[in-house]
């Protein structure tokens, strides 16, 4: 079973630029902590701490391979977030679709010389 996914934790996790960069990197494939730490001027423990936040938020997961624990994106977490965002997007789009209808019902403004910039 998946652990409980908290969207709030997911979005908070995304508030940090390093964590967004880590996710961007993981979007291209599985990586070890070493590989992830490389592009950042950060210690491995610092990166591990970021990874923990991402794992707790359900966005990243790992497997065990000998002494290594390669990280990858956690699909359910990313999908839950995506779904939720799609809902928001729908609400905003609904606003603008209604605005289209409002605009269609409005009188055309009279064009006057001089109102143009």
């Amino acid at each position: 079973m998946h652990s409980h996914l908290s969207l709030d934790a997911a979005f908070s996790a995304l508030a940090d630029p390093t964590r967004r960069a880590i996710l961007a990197r993981l979007a291209t494939g599985e990586s070890t902590v070493n590989e992830l730490a490389e592009p950042f001027e950060m210690s491995q423990p610092a990166i591990s701490q970021h990874l923990k936040v991402l794992e707790d938020a359900g966005l990243v997961t790992h497997r065990v391979e000998g002494t290594k624990r390669p990280r990858r994106l956690a699909k359910p977490g990313i999908e839950a977030m995506d779904q939720w965002l799609a809902m928001l997007r729908k609400a905003l789009e609904a606003n603008y679709d209604r605005l289209d209808a409002v605009l269609a019902g409005m009188e055309k403004p009279k064009r006057k010389g001089g109102t143009k910039r």
Binding site: R20, L85, R98
Partner: protein, 159 residues
């Protein structure tokens, strides 16, 4: 119909664009005339805006209250900083959920686009944490903010 885009920019901005078939004058009016606002700025199906106060002048205040008819609701208040008919508005706003959220600074541009209008709404939040919180908790009414495509959120912070 024309497609809306919504993306994050840097750490603190959210940018929404949308094209409309009507000229900038009309789209601008629909954003500041309370009677018109109440017809469209409603979010998901079932929500209404029983209170819409909007003093469209620099320094003018506005207050929008939403209700879902089942006892749930929330409101935002804001102040206009700049109004350039029919090109541009700048305002700050905050939501009450019921505690106030940090101020969202919103610049909305209405540019002629053929016979229609290209609207660009650029929101600036005080910091990345606030933006994330807004994206995560805000918008039950689908108001000013925010959907962010995953690729927008996942923009690498380092080259």
């Amino acid at each position: 119909m024309s497609k809306m885009t919504l993306k994050t920019e840097g750490d603190t901005h959210v940018v929404v664009t949308r094209r409309f078939a009507a000229p900038p004058e009309s789209v601008y009016r629909a954003h500041i005339d309370p009677e018109l606002i109440q017809k469209w700025l409603l979010g998901p199906e079932g929500w209404t805006m029983p209170v819409c106060i909007n003093e469209a002048k620099p320094g003018g205040k506005f207050r929008y209250e939403w209700s879902n008819g089942k006892g749930q609701g929330f409101f935002i208040t804001g102040e206009y900083l700049e109004l350039e008919p029919y090109n541009r508005t700048v305002h700050v706003e905050r939501m009450f959920l019921p505690d106030p959220t940090p101020d969202n600074h919103v610049e909305t541009r209405f540019e002629p686009d053929g016979t229609g209008t290209l609207m660009t709404m650029r929101m600036t939040l005080p910091d990345a944490r606030t933006r994330a919180a807004m994206l995560a908790t805000g918008m039950e009414g689908g108001m000013e903010a925010s959907y962010v495509r995953l690729e927008g959120l996942l923009q690498p912070a380092v080259a």
